[in-house]
Amino acid sequence: MRKAERSQEVVLRLVPGAGPAPTLDDVYRRYCRYVAAVILRLDGRPAEVDDLVQDVFVEAAAGIARLRDPEAIKGWLATIAVRTVRHRLRMRRAWRFLGLERDAGEMVLVDPRASPADRVLLRAVYRVLDEMPVQDRLAFTLHIIEGETLEAVAKLCGCSLATAKRRVARGQRLIEQRLSDE
């Protein structure tokens, strides 16, 4: 995940096979910003990041002792993050259907140095993402915003490459359609 990596301030240096396996707290601290960045881009709601990050780490706690390679940890956490956000997005859609959704509050935290045009664009994009089927939204966000290859998108979403391509394409069409209407 190239963009999430760039947002990291701490560089992990773990030599595979050397020393004890990372403790849970080690993992939490090292990857917290990374996981939070992934979640924010997928979910779009800063107010939910705390909650979702904690959910991811609780799920990760079960298998962490078996992992030693740092790259494996990151990809593994990313898969859990995608799954966790998928569940949250589905619940949000169900509540929206019942008319129970809370006020979204601020959507998407953007670097204060971003241009006004970027901010306007992202607000518009995330409004459309909220309309999109959850699977298409995740695939689109992972490929376009996170910069993941289609193969990586397929792996993270637990689908075939062909399915990942279709979902990304549907997401792109909807975004193009909606944004061209504005």
Binding site: Q54, A61, G99, L100, V110, R113, L122, I145, I175
Partner: protein, 345 residues
């Protein structure tokens, strides 16, 4: 580059600016939060594991609820994070290996009858987990107020809240009947019965044309019911904060709905036992009493308010409420807890 490609390129560029901007303090807060959730999840697994350690041959079972009116009772929830482990010293063990395990400190369970052809227990308050050795020629009955549970052999938990009954099945399949309908609850599933939106439609019945006022009332009632249902789902799926928000919405928008006292009491329990907000919990329990001062929750709500005030460090208020409880309910079933929390004799 086409317009579409250009747009995607711009989105990708702008997306790189999305960052939560976490400080070290934010990270520590999230780390601490994750650890707390892990402990809660571990405690829930431990509670279930105690029962699973008992060796049973399980078959599917028929559970018939004879729902006969409104009965008071607590609310169904996932095992609260501060729930005590099952009380080993109070486990009822029958001669065939069946067990009845109290799950709360206040649970009152009594063996009424044990004969070769019939076993009967009474769940007077709280929650209990039953593991029943299958014996086709023997009736195993649990009485819970006006509700009767008859089983053949399964592992399930029953909890009462007002006129609703919560059923969680760990093994086997349970059928729940509430008169107007029925449902199968399989292993790993749970639910509340009767379901909230169960206005039976009588075939061939003539329906009067609703007035606008009546239809507005009906719509509001359905909205309140949906909120309560959504809150239950949120709680049972582990999203206590969202469940609390839905209950607050119900209380704000439907304060006159007959379900409002239940919503306030449920909110109080959620805040006290899962969200660790004893101050707000005390207010919710007080609201439950204001909405229904003579209702089925009033005594429990006052007792819980004492507990919440004590946990919030408001000991003087806790004592005042405890004295009120003593006065209103001299033979109250929560007297011991109230005296301890309120620090009165």
């Amino acid at each position: 580059m086409s317009d579409g490609q250009d747009l995607m390129r711009r989105i990708a560029g702008a997306g790189g600016r999305i960052d939560p901007g976490l400080s070290d303090r934010d990270v520590e807060r999230m780390v601490a939060g994750a650890r707390r959730r892990q402990r809660r999840a571990h405690m829930r697994r431990a509670v279930l594991a105690v029962g699973a350690a008992v060796s049973l041959a399980l078959t599917g079972a028929l559970v018939v609820f004879h729902h006969a009116g409104h009965a008071p009772g607590p609310e169904m929830a996932a095992a609260p994070e501060n729930a005590p482990a099952p009380h080993a010293e109070r486990i009822l063990r029958l001669s065939d290996g069946s067990t009845a395990v109290p799950l709360d400190a206040e649970t009152q369970l009594e063996l009424l009858e044990e004969r070769p052809g019939r076993v009967a227990l009474s769940l007077m308050r709280g929650r209990a987990r039953f593991q029943v050795t299958p014996q086709p020629k023997r009736a195993f009955v649990v009485h819970a107020g006006d509700v009767r549970v008859t089983v053949v052999g399964t592992v399930f938990t029953v909890e009462r809240v007002a006129d609703r009954v919560g059923v969680a099945v760990e093994r086997g399949t349970v059928r729940v009947d509430w008169g107007a309908g029925s449902a199968l609850v399989n292993a790993g599933q749970n639910g509340w019965y009767p379901p909230l939106a169960t206005t039976p439609l009588l075939p061939h019945a003539r329906r009067a044309k609703p007035t606008s006022l009546a239809s507005t009332r009906e719509e509001k009632g359905e909205a309140a019911a949906e909120l309560l249902m959504a809150a239950d789902r949120a709680r049972l799926s582990g999203h206590a904060d969202q469940g609390a928000e839905l209950l607050r919405k119900l209380l704000r928008e439907h304060p006159d709905d007959p379900r409002a006292p239940l919503a306030a009491f449920t909110l109080g329990r959620l805040l006290l036992m899962e969200l660790r907000s004893p101050d707000e919990a005390a207010a919710a329990f007080a609201q439950a009493r204001r909405l229904a001062p003579s209702g089925p929750f009033a005594e429990d709500a006052l007792a819980r308010e004492v507990e919440a005030l004590s946990k919030a460090g408001r000991q003087a208020d806790a004592r005042t409420r405890a004295e009120e409880y003593q006065h209103r309910y001299p033979n109250g079933r929560r007297m011991a807890t109230v005296r301890t929390a309120g620090e009165i004799k």
